[in-house]
Amino acid sequence: MNRFTLICAALVFLLAGSVSAQDVLFRNATVLTITDGDLENTDVLVSGGIITEIGSNIRAPRGITEVDATGKYLMPGIIDAHSHIALTSVNEGSSPVTAEVSMEDVVNPYHLGIYRALAGGVTTSHTMHGSANVIGGQNETIKHRFGTKDPDDVRFEGAPRTIKFALGENPTRVHGNRGSGGTGAIVPATRMGVEQVLRGSFENGKRYMEAWDAYTAEAATNPRAVPPAYNNRLEVMADILRGDVLVHCHSYRADEILMLTRVFNDYEVRKITFQHANEAFKVAPELAAYGAYASVFADWWSYKFEVYYSTSYNAAILMRNGVVTSINSDSGELNRHLYHEAAKSQRYGGLNDAEALSMITINPAIQLGIQDRVGSIEIGKDGDLTLFDGHPLSVYAIPAMTFVDGIKYFDRFEDADDMRLQISPSAEIGTFEGQITGRDHIHDETEVLDFFELFGEDILTTIDSQ
């Protein structure tokens, strides 16, 4: 190629309006916007990773990738508000309060679970600390930019900080040595103890915050002002009190859900999502009144005693009582068909399509504080989109393509079978690894451990904590 041809090629490229890798145009889709109804035969244009146009017969920027979505359904990328994928460890189970630790430090972008989630239409996961501690670690909200080697690349930049709390059987078993499998008999061994651990942490956090606020004020005029002792755990408690960290609390029973609401009311903490919350349906009016959110399973129950009095109608009762509700996975298997989990609210409680879909899109976005960026198809939102070859609430629906920031990360027909990014010598193709199934929830999330990754194999499994 001579110089002239090169210059011409460069000119053509520039004149074309510099189509980027983050540009894509969907043609003739049924667009499930979530916030603005369903639009038939509609085009959606993503430019620079942002949705810039929704309409019919959109003029295609020259050179843009067009996706013929005729007969297909385009919906916002699904958001999983409770996940443990892409982590190399999950529980800092050494103390009932470990607010200072963060999943940010253990994100594993190689994790195949990210790809498998994409293949189920999921573009964002809230990948969380476990439930061993009353106040566990801070979580990480990630975007499924599969293929990168840099953990920072999968972070959902600008997403609010969140933290994991846990009530009930798990923290009392692990710390109070109730039942078996605990690490030592310390408070809490009961739900009463859980409340006092929380109250103690919030009171200390409040005093710490006030001491620092007083110091900061004094330091403005007095250069000899003495700062309080720094405490990284109380720093996080203070940030929760300031409203800078959203609380996501593992909980099951109605009484413990109300307990935390009372504690939060006393400390004026407003941003709370109850995770799992199998008995939230019993106190739905109270949750609605407080403005608390719920993120629940579609049908998991009976795997432990505190979920024995559950109902698969939980999500429907909560939605009907005005609680912002999402359906989550807490599983490297379930997260591949959250659209199906959301659809179960139609069998169990007769929610309509818009309500059902909101529970895996805009509602989890609200719970994670990212609703201005994702969770619906609106101009100005991120180009995180999933194309289904049938209505996503049908059991026969198959996700066909998934996009994050306008970039295609999953294609049912073009992707290779083997999508691993990291292949260790001990994980040859011939290695049978076993499966994650619906049975894995028996073990809850107390001791979720990415076991095989420690051995170079890629499977998230769950170790019995008993």
């Binding site: 049908d299 432990k304 109902t311 026969y396 193709i429 290695t431 049978f432 499966q435 499977i459």
Partner: protein, 449 residues
Amino acid sequence: MTVFYSLVLAFMMLIPQSQQQDQKARQGTYAITNARIETVSDGTIENGTVVIEGDRIIAVGINVAIPEGAQLIDGSGMHVYPGMIDSGTSLGLVEVGSVAETNDTNEVGEVTPHMDALTAVNPNAVAIPVTRVSGITTVITEPGGGLLPGTAAAINLFGYTAEQMHAGDVRMLVLQFPRKGGFGNFRRFRGGGAARDPEAEYKKAMDKLNEIWDRASLYQKIAAAYAADPSGKTMPVYAPEMDAITPVLTGDRKLMVKVDGEKDILAAINWVQERKLTNVVFSGVSEGWRVADKLAEAGIACLVGPMLATPTRGSDRYDRAYANIGLMADAGVTVAIRSGETENVRNLAFNAGFAAAYGMGKEAALKAVTLGPAQIFGIDADYGSIEVGKKANLFLSDGDPFETSTNILALFIDGFNVPIESRHLDLYQEFLNRDEGRLQPVEVLPADH
């Protein structure tokens, strides 16, 4: 009032007043009219009638005489399906998963073939009504744990005793076929101690299986000889483990081989052939697609699932577990679907739906949860389709039962019109509008703190 309750209430209007009051399941004479009948064995009948008398279907078709005194159920706009059969569960054996005291699946010891699942089935397990209101009327319930953990049984999901529930006298001896390679019981890693040697462990397990089988064969010969003519012979020692294996050796009882990995499936095929066992079924078979032609050639039926699972290998396509059973069926393997579940056996229909979507097709998937398993278990004279003379195990729905939004509106098991009731529905009814009966509102929050 939700759509579902409108439907159920509208439906109950059709059922005589006397039964609405006590909601007690009763046998009798019932005629379901004007329904779309999915017979499974003989296509679909539009605007058809099904007549039930006692525990049996006595008439099916368009021009069917309705017996005098029959209780009429207008099935207009409804679909009638044979009750679904789940080919692998622990239903009835477990009440609360993590509470060991309520968990009766695993006996102590590796070789406990004389443990009988039917003994420990709790007819009042809360999960049983939760399951049947989704249209599942029969399940295989299995013990688990060791090499030969016990005997699985088929149960109908209505009844007050094991005898009332036992379906078609089906019992199968469970064999957890030894696993080759590094996979196995994760928990062993955790206990620390000596490093594992997977090869040695596998050889040990196979040696043990072969030794037990040799002993069982010898025992069977001695016991048979003694039974034929005890004179001058010593009575064989009491060996319930051996007694439990005997009917498998004679071919009178089916051996259910639980096996998943490719190498293990091939080893299991060889093993049953070497042992000249013909009444055999494989269960699990998550890598069946890899050796489907071998399974078809061996003529071994497979109880496959769950579909709702991750691939068995990191290198496998993401949807292999969904597609596995379809690929096996295409290769000519006789298949049925198992959920592998306990409290969520109700997801059987959704496992079937995913199998259907990912290659199997709806018709084959429906057969794999109805007539298919009935044939495999040898109970197809009584179960698996809507046919005259068969057990009245069937349900009415407002659509395709695999489709997530479909409602199951009525249910018959053994001819009993089992009410659509479960704890999940009870809690829904109680809590949907929790405070509507309260005259004086109570402040919502906070309590006195």
